[in-house]
Amino acid sequence: MSTNGMTSWAVDLKDVGAIYPFQGSEVLLVILGLAFWIGWHIWQVRHENAELASEKKRGTGDKARKFIDRY
């Protein structure tokens, strides 16, 4: 048993194709990869919304003026 189908290098390299593990799962990997990418954007937007809301609430008055002066 081998995760890429190869158990020995007693082969002619001109006859060898893909050597990554779990061949045949490429479409599933792409789907999972796309889900990871989309999921990251969803998480990031939510996180940024929460962060901006918090900063909006806290950045007022003297504290805001002090930060403006810091440039």
Partner: protein, 465 residues
Amino acid sequence: MGDNITTLNVIFTEFYYWVTVVFMFLIHAGFCMYEVGASRRKNHMHTLMKNTMAIPLVTITFYFFGWWIYFAFINGPGIVEGGIAAAEFAKPWSPLMATHLSGPDPTMGVSEADAALWHRLNGVFWAAFLLFSITTASIVSGAVIERARMSAFWMVAVLIGSVAWIIDASWGWHPSGWMVKLLGYHDAYASGVVHAIAGGAALAFLIVLGPRIGKFRADGTPRDIPPHNPWLVTIGLFLIYTGFWGFYAACNIPMIDPGTIAGQITGETWTTTNIYLTPTSLSAITFNFLMSLSGGLLAGYVISKGNPFWTYSAGLCGIIGASAGNDLYHPIQAMFIGAIVPCISYKLHYWVERRFKIDDAVGAVAVHGYGGFLGVVIAGFMLWGQPSSPYEGYAAINPLGNFIGACIMVALGFIPTFILAKILNGANLLRVPREVELVGLDFQDREAYDAAVADVTAAERAMVK
């Protein structure tokens, strides 16, 4: 030097490794920037010099004995048959460790076969491995900033950079290493042999050294000691990423024919191989390097809630976590491994900090130690059953072999460093005095600097009419 194709291949290989060395120097520029950025102003010059002087110290000791250890200790010695292996070309007095044009000289221990292979490759191979050595030592440097004595760190740097890591490389990162033969150990881009051992050494050093003054409150909860210059830290990490391109390329043999490998591979198709002489390609590792870096950055951003320090570190940890198998993974597999490993390492970092009061100033144990260890273990599962070598009779890659190998890597860093740190601590050579730590390690230099500035500005002011 044989026929024209052989000549071209040798000169191409010589130039190839030379380029990797130049790239890898960026890792050290990056480490210096990163550490200085992470330290406070009162410790800048000390931090810089501590890291910088590891370069010449590891260089000369790696010339004197490190390079020979790599070839001589492949059998343990004493773990598999063979004792200390012959490596005349790597002894510091060998004519092949200097300018040489390939003529054999048996009276000086230069055989025809050694001369043909090593006369142009010895210097560049040595230098590529040397840059791995300096990297291993530099990883430890960051963890112990702002309180370790330079003398102590430099002794540890030589121990790790020119002895311990190269023993593990001889065992698990050589085509004939006993760990490859017996365990089927696979660690193509050094998750274990460079990173886990350095993480183990850093952890041992930190346990004996103790935290910086003020790191923990009276109730034991940790304080954040923020980097004085986050920009410098991030640019330093970018440089480390850039240097890693050279690191990855240097872990490959760029072009070799099956006849030279003299293993089981048949036919006449030339190939790139990893350090174990099994086929891969520069294209494969380029895919996987970038995808694992990206997985690490994306996951690091989430787990640290956008903290730049940890996002960048997670990018590096993503590469390290996938490195053991990045010669063979599919790029999307590399991305997921690169995403998962930094999340675990990040959580472990804070758990260890709270539970054991370990003050790892730059997260070196997490990024390199936990990340490297996990990377080797994951590769054992992902590559299960694949041949570890082009030669017959070697164990196949397997989870147990890689797990044992990962433990050996951490232990090879931890045990010798712990012993040396204990000895240095006993001799009062490990840590700077409390008074010096409080005012800063640059206090005397800073005073001299201020006096020089006052002197020259007063003189210039006096000249103004």
